[in-house]
Each structure stands twice: as C-alpha cells, then as structure tokens.
C-alpha cells in the first residue's frame, strides 16, 4: 500500500449527539483505496454510529464526508449504494426460504418479458461474481440450509452485486467458526487484490492484527489512535481502547482439582423445537477446576447448561451433585443446593431489565431467609446492603444501586449477573458465554473472578463461543459436536485441532 494512494473514504469532523450521549465527537476517519482498515473500540465507543453515518442510516450533526475525492451528501442507504458503499451487517439481512440467487438479487431482480424473474440471468450474474472473487456459492441452494459462513458469503456477494467498491463488515467473525474465519480472510484478501476497499469492524484484536493494514481506535465517541498494523501489537490497541493498561492473558495458577462435584451420565435432552439436542453427554466436573466446553454454537451447549441449571427437562440420563440426584430438580432447588448459573442471554434471561440493580441482585433468592422474613416480607435493608457490597466488590459502574439494569452498559449488566451468582459462594458455577458482548476491561475482570471462584474451590463449567476464552480459562476442554462430547483435551491443545474437532473432524483420531 503506497502512502500516496488517494483516499477512498475521508470523513472529517463528524459529530453526532444523541440525547445524553455524544456518540461521535469530531471524528476524523480515512480509508485508503485497496486497504483493509480495521475500526476497533469497545461497545458504545461510536463505531456503529460512524459506520451508520457513512451508510446513510444516521445523519451527522456536523462534519463532511469525501468519497474518492468528492464531497458527498449521503441522505440514505440508497445514496451510499450509489456511491459504491456496501454494508454487511452483523445480523444477516437474508430471507431463509429464498434461494441464494433470489436473496442476492432481492430488490434488483432481473426480469424478462412483462415481469418474470429471470433465473438464467441471475445465475449467470452470480456465477460471474463468484468466479471473479473466488466466492464459491450455489445459487439454487435454499438460504436457510446453508451454514452461517456461506450465508455471510452470500451477503458479501449481494453487496458486490450492487456494485460496492467499499465494503463495511460489521463484526463479521462473531458468528463464524475458526475455519470459517480463515476462509473469510482469504476472501477478503482476494477482494482487496481485485481493487476493493474494506472497513472491518471488530473487537477481536488477534483478527484485527491478522487481517488489517491500518487501524483506527475509538473510545467514547472520539478517535484515540491511528495505527499501522505491522507497527503495533495487541497490548497497545487494548490500552488505547480501554484507556488504561489491560491484562490480556488470564493470570492463573495450575488447578488443584478435588473430588467430583458434578457427575453427568449419558444425559439427553431436546431443544425448543423438540429435536434431540443432547445425545448422551457424560463427564465429571471436579471441585477446583474449570472445565471449558468448546464448540460451534448450536451443538447442544445451551441445552446442556439449561438442563444442568434446572431450567430444561432432561429426557434421559443422570446429573449427580455430590451424591444427590439433581436430574429433575427445578432451578430454585438447585440454587439452594449450591449451583449458580450465569445464563448466556443476559438481557433475556439473566436480568429483569426494568428492575434496579438492587432488585436484580436477589433474583431467585427473594424467598431465602437472608432477604425475606418467613418467605414473605422482604428485608429491604439487607437487600440494599447486599447490593451495595456487590457493586463495590464486583466493580459495577453505576451512580447508585437504584439504577434500572436496562440503563447499564452491557459489561456492567453482565457484572451484575456475575456478582449475583458468585456472591453466594456457589459449589458449582455454570457460566454460559460469560463475556459475550462485554468490553475488554470487563472481560478481564470477569475472567479474574471466574479463576478466583475456582481457586476458592468451586467447580466451574464454562461454555463459550470464543475459542480463545475457553483455551485461556479452562483446565480441561471438552469439545461438543452435534449433542455429544467428542473429546476432552488439555488446555494447550492447538487451535487447529480444536477447530477440527468442533466441526466433526478428527474425533476418531482423538479417541484413538
């Protein structure tokens, strides 16, 4: 990339004020032709606002946008598409029952005669695109049948079909397996080679370092750093993002596994759609260890956690907690027995969003003797003291314990759940996606708390879609694939091997 290449995108002095928040504060953001430019920052740093302004979804209060040397006025996505800007959203905008071809053509369908969809033209156009960018896709496949990686590829082809030269990818790897991520990166490099420009929004620093040429870091609505990828490292980016030094690696001593805390035997269960989700899961979880479960999402991890926590019924098998059969126990009884559960969907199941921090801090414990008198009258003073202790011990950033959970940032919401579940010194901690969508600073904190819980003797079962998280936290790694545990591996297992196991390969090799 020569320094003199003209700028593909030049956003100058962009300012956008939302009620109560300055989302973009005089942001300067420029992208050169033919580069992969990473835009990083924590949740709420203003990345999405900036990109939505570029794509015409939000109008800036002030500032100027220059595309290919011309000052432009983008009033909506239509203008942006006209200027060759395309956006691949984090959540795909696809219609599952349509074919790949129909999805790609949607809104720009080629027609013959009066108004007939022209299949052959569509096919030819897609074949053209897929050939020139090396994006293999079957235009006749039903979109809903494709794996996530290919759905994303279809999104990219859709954007290309509309003539995009500048592609904005919003957290594109969030839903991908390691293999799919690798394939995506190959595609991105090919796209750049054929002259496209890519803006890559991410908070995964490893990927940013691997794929990008330059990096813009945002924090609290401002640009805090322009970096050249090959001259920087993870620590520098993280420090800029968070505004202080961050410990990226989990600092932990070797595990001291004790007796078996939870014994799971041949457990089976169905998903919400009544298809078998667990097909005979067995493992032992010991006190003083973190057992991580790696796997591509949707392979039964969520159902496993729910069955263990008592919120989903097992169809077979047994769960034994310290010689007590808890297979059919409900969530409340299990909690009393010392099982704490951090559910994966914090906004949907972990918190009552309209409740204050204080109220959320006793969710599920509102009838315990600590917080109620004869399971009837709430002990308000005890609840307030407990909530204030949690806020202090777990570093929940809030002006008061009376703030509604809805008004906290994602990281602080997660800390409320973590605090609630860990605050009662559980024997077994079930942590599902404990740091999903959480800022780096909070991730660091939550990781330290999980390790602390282990060191205090608790048995921790961790499910995470982030392979890095599983590898750095776990003392043993169980890989789940299609409702079964295909292998249990040591934590230093190479990523490639885990990735292979997660997608159904190498299981036999591992067992042998």
């Amino acid at each position: 990339m020569s320094e003199s290449s003209p700028l593909a995108v030049d956003m100058r002095g962009i300012t956008k004020q939302f009620p109560g928040v300055l989302a973009n504060n005089h942001v300067d953001f420029s992208v050169r032709h033919g580069e992969i430019h990473a835009l990083v920052g924590e949740n709420g740093a203003g990345k999405s606002t900036l990109m939505n302004i570029l794509y015409g979804l939000i109008h800036p209060d002030s500032g100027e946008i220059v595309i290919d040397g011309k000052t432009v006025h983008i009033t909506g996505p239509r203008d942006a598409i006209g200027l060759g800007i395309g956006m691949v959203h984090q959540h795909f905008m696809l219609i599952p029952v349509f074919s790949v071809g129909e999805n790609i053509m949607l809104g720009r369908e080629p027609v013959t005669g009066p108004d007939f969809y022209d299949h052959s033209h569509a096919r030819a156009a897609i074949a053209d695109l897929t050939k020139s960018y090396g994006l293999a896709l079957d235009p006749d496949a039903r979109m809903g049948d494709l794996p996530v990686g290919l759905q994303q590829r279809a999104e990219i082809v859709k954007v290309l079909y509309r003539g995009a030269n500048i592609l904005i990818l919003d957290e594109p790897t969030g839903v991908l397996t390691p293999q799919e991520t690798k394939e995506l990166f190959v595609v991105l490099r090919d796209l750049v080679k054929s002259g496209k420009t890519i803006i890559f929004i991410s908070h995964k620093l490893k990927e940013v370092l691997e794929i990008s040429d330059r990096i813009t870091v945002m924090r609290r609505g401002k640009v805090v750093g322009h970096l050249t990828t090959r001259e920087t490292n993870e620590e520098e980016i993280a420090t800029l993002m968070v505004g202080r030094e961050v410990l990226l690696r989990v600092d932990k001593k070797p595990a001291q596994p004790g007796a078996v805390a939870m014994k799971v035997e041949d457990l089976t269960a169905s998903s919400d759609r009544s298809v078998p989700a667990l097909k005979g899961v067995s493992f032992d979880l010991r006190y003083g260890e973190i057992l991580g479960i790696a796997g591509v999402e949707g392979n039964g991890q969520s159902e496993l956690m729910e069955v263990l926590a008592g919120t989903r019924r097992a169809t077979g098998g047994r769960v034994v907690l310290a010689d007590r059969d808890i297979t059919t126990m409900d969530a409340n009884t299990e909690r009393d027995a010392g099982v704490a559960f951090i559910p994966e969907d914090r906004r949907g199941t972990g918190l009552v969003l309209g409740f204050s921090i204080a109220e959320n801090s006793i969710l599920g414990r509102e009838r315990t003797a600590t917080f109620s008198w004869h399971e009837f009258v709430l002990r308000l003073v005890a609840i307030r003291n407990w909530a204030m202790r949690l806020v202090k011990d777990y570093d929940i950033r809030t002006p008061s314990i009376d703030v509604a959970a809805r008004n906290l940032s994602g990281g602080n919401q997660q800390k409320v759940i973590v605090a609630r579940e860990m605050g009662s010194n559980p024997k077994v901690l079930l942590a599902a996606q404990p740091t999903r969508g959480v800022d780096i600073g909070a991730i660091e904190f939550i990781h330290r708390q999980i390790v602390k819980e282990r060191d205090a003797g608790a048995a921790v079962l961790l499910v995470s879609a982030e392979l890095d998280e599983v590898r750095s936290l776990s003392d043993r790694i169980a890989v789940m694939y299609e409702g079964k545990i295909v292998s249990i591996e040591p934590p230093d297992t190479p990523e490639e091997r885990l990735g292979l196991l997660m997608t159904g390969g190498g299981a036999r090799a591992g067992a042998a």
Binding site: V352, L353, D402
Partner: protein, 395 residues
C-alpha cells in the same frame, strides 16, 4: 430541579396531561353543542367535590355521594392493577365484583340471624372467596393450558351477569315473584355508616340518614395499602413484578411462573370480590337490577391505568372517576348539559392515556422515528422499590 422532583413531575405528566387534555376537548364539545363549558364544569365540580355550588346543593351530601362511588373503584382498581404488574390484563373485575356481591348476599340472607361480629366477616370473606374463584379460573387456565386471560375473564363477566339475573328473577334469592331484587341481608351483615343512620339527627343541615358514606371506605383504603405492601415489600410481590417484566428471567431464576400467575389472579379476584361484598354490605343490602348494567369493573381498568398501577395513583384516579360519576347529575340539573358528557370525558381520558402507548410501541420497534443504535446512558437515580409506572406506561 432535584432528581426526585423531576421524576415525580415526569411520572405525573402523563396522567395529568391526559386529564387536562380530556377536559379541554370536553369543553370544546360542550361549546360546539351550544352549552357553556364554565357552567358545565362548575356543575361537575359541585356535584363531584362539593365545591362552588351555586344552586343550593349541599356540599357535604355531594362529597358523601362521591365517596360511595369511590369505594368500589379503589378496590376494583387494585384488582386490575395487580395482574397488570404480572403482565396480565384482568378485564374481569366486573364479573369478580358481581360474584362477590352474590356471595355476600347469599350468605347474608341465609344466615341473617347471626350477630354482626360473626356475620359481617363471613359476608366479606365470602365475597372475597367468590371473587377469587371467579378470577382463579382464568388464572389456572392461563397457567396450565395458556388460555388468554382477556378472553376468559370477559366470558366470565357474562356468566356472572346472567347468574345475577337468574338469582333475582325467578331464582332462589328473589324477593317476591314479579320483583327484580333479592331478599335483604341480615342487619348483622351491614357495614356501619360513617354518620349515624338516624334521620332525627341533623348534620350539615340535613337529616343524617341521607349521608350514605359508609365505613367500607376504610376497607378500601386498607386494600390499597395492602396492595402497595404486597407489591413492594414482599417476596410474592417481587415475583409478581419479575414475572410481569420478564417471564423468561423469572423462570431462569427459579420463580414458578404458573404459580405466580394463579396466585396473582386469586388475590386480584379477592380484591374485586371484596369490592362487591362491601357494596352490598355498605350501600344496597340486597341485589337489585341496577347491577345488570354496572360498569364499576370496567371503570376500574381506567382507574388502574390512570393511577399508573400505584396505590396512591389508584386512590386519586378513583376519586376523579367517582367525582365525575357523582357530578354528572348536578351538571345536568344546573347547566342543562346531558350527564352523558361525563362518559365522553371518561372516554377522552382513556383515549389520551392510550395515545401514550405510542411511546411504548416505538420502543418495541427500534428504528421507528429514532436512531436504532442509541448508546446506553445513565439516567438520574431512581429510588428503589418505590412506586414506578405500570409496565405498559412509560414513566
């Protein structure tokens, strides 16, 4: 402004705005149809609150009449507001109220010889039990087979209305063939009046017997206080609110959603049933055909909404609706404006409350008129476990 004042102002803006808006539009309607809005409203004010009476009405009597209307509105308002907190819409307060009336009358007639210390608690508890059954059935159906409570409670309203008709026209409680009223309950089941029921005594310039205000007022206020206590100070109230705001989160935390729904409806029905029992024991002392077209249980929905589901709000809203009800006839007599305007005003108040739901709908569908990706922000601190808005209304 200090945060507490700002929050209070923000909380009151919606209901007060709705009422003011309704009165402004009502004034326009009166003016357009050839009346004088000032006369109309001074009539309402006199009839409802006994203030500014110009044509010789007795203010004390007007206040007494209003309070008689307010009593059942408070209790049924609570019966609607409590399920609201659990995310349930109890449209059946009317049926539950009638069930309470019928049970109260049946017991009061059957055991008419018992002394007051035994019979009065019996009729009140009997009314509560009947109301609880009437609301418990929809609760159980909702919790077990998922039948929507709006449908089942409405249907049970009809059952109660026709049961009432049967009981006093040809049924076992009928006073005499050809009448459409029931036998009178025993004196032991009567709730005492606030002023002695003695026409030889002259109070506020009138015989004391004309002031019908009765001690059911205390029971209604106790019911409102019990409602607030239950909701904010008990584990059950906590669970009711948790279920109302997020069933999934409540379930994950180990709260039995089915049990909470059933218990909520039972308690709500008991409140409505109590309203019915108080009405019979305190005012009528028998069932009459005027309750064929009673709307207290429906007005209660408006009271609960306007009162933002809080105990104090419900009492205030009940006073407003009771005053409107009582004031209508004075307005008609004094200003010559049809008492039906009162119903127009009630409807307008409801309408402008409903208009406030737009904010709620907007929040559910992001991207409609406001930026989709609004970053989180810190609000002013709000006191814990104090009255907040009911779920469907923005604070």
């Amino acid at each position: 402004m200090p945060p507490i004042a700002r929050r209070l102002a923000g909380g009151l803006a919606m209901p007060l705005g709705s009422v003011v808006l309704a009165f402004v539009i009502g004034a326009v309607i009166v003016a357009v149809t050839g009346g004088n809005p000032l006369d109309a409203y001074s009539g309402l004010l006199c009839g409802g609150l006994g203030i500014a009476c110009s044509q010789g009405e007795n203010p004390a009597l007007q206040v007494s009449t209003t309070i008689v209307y307010v009593i059942p509105l408070i209790t049924t308002g609570v019966a609607v507001a409590l399920p609201f907190r659990a995310g349930l819409f109890n449209i059946g307060a009317e049926g539950q109220l009638l069930a309470g009336m019928m049970a109260c009358t049946a017991i009061g007639v059957k055991f008419s010889d018992l002394p007051s210390p035994i019979l009065l608690p019996m009729v009140l508890l009997g009314g509560m039990a009947a109301g609880a059954v009437w609301a418990g059935v929809p609760g159980i159906l909702k919790a077990t087979v998922g039948a929507h409570e709006v449908v089942t409670t409405i249907m049970l309203n009809y059952v109660a209305q026709w049961l009432l008709r049967y009981l006093i026209i040809g049924g076992p409680l009928q006073l005499a063939p050809g009448t459409s009223k029931s036998l009178t309950i025993g004196p032991g089941a009567w709730l005492a009046r606030v002023l002695p029921n003695d026409n030889s005594l002259v109070i506020f310039g009138l015989p004391a017997g004309v002031f019908r205000v009765h001690t059911g007022l205390l029971l209604a206020l106790v019911a409102a206080a019990a409602f607030a206590f239950l909701l904010w100070r008990t584990s059950l109230g906590y669970e009711i609110r948790a279920v109302g705001q997020s069933q999934r989160a409540a379930r994950y935390a180990g709260v039995s959603v089915a049990r909470t729904i059933i218990v909520t409806m039972l308690i709500a029905g008991a409140f409505a049933g109590l309203a019915g029992a108080i009405q019979i024991a305190g005012v009528d002392h028998n069932l009459t055909d005027i309750y064929f077209s009673d709307t207290t249980g429906f007005d209660a929905i408006a009271v609960a909404l306007l009162g933002l589901g809080s105990a104090v709000g419900i009492v205030l809203a009940a006073i407003l609706f009771g005053a409107l009800h009582a004031g209508g006839s004075v307005m008609q007599a004094d200003a010559g404006i049809s008492g039906s305007l009162v119903f127009v005003l009630q409807a307008l108040i409801l309408f402008s409350i409903a208009a406030n739901f737009i904010g709620q709908i907007r929040r559910l569908i992001p991207g409609l008129g406001r930026p989709a990706a609004l970053p989180p922000e810190m609000p002013p601190a709000a006191p814990m476990m104090t009255e907040a808005a009911v779920p469907p209304v923005e604070p």
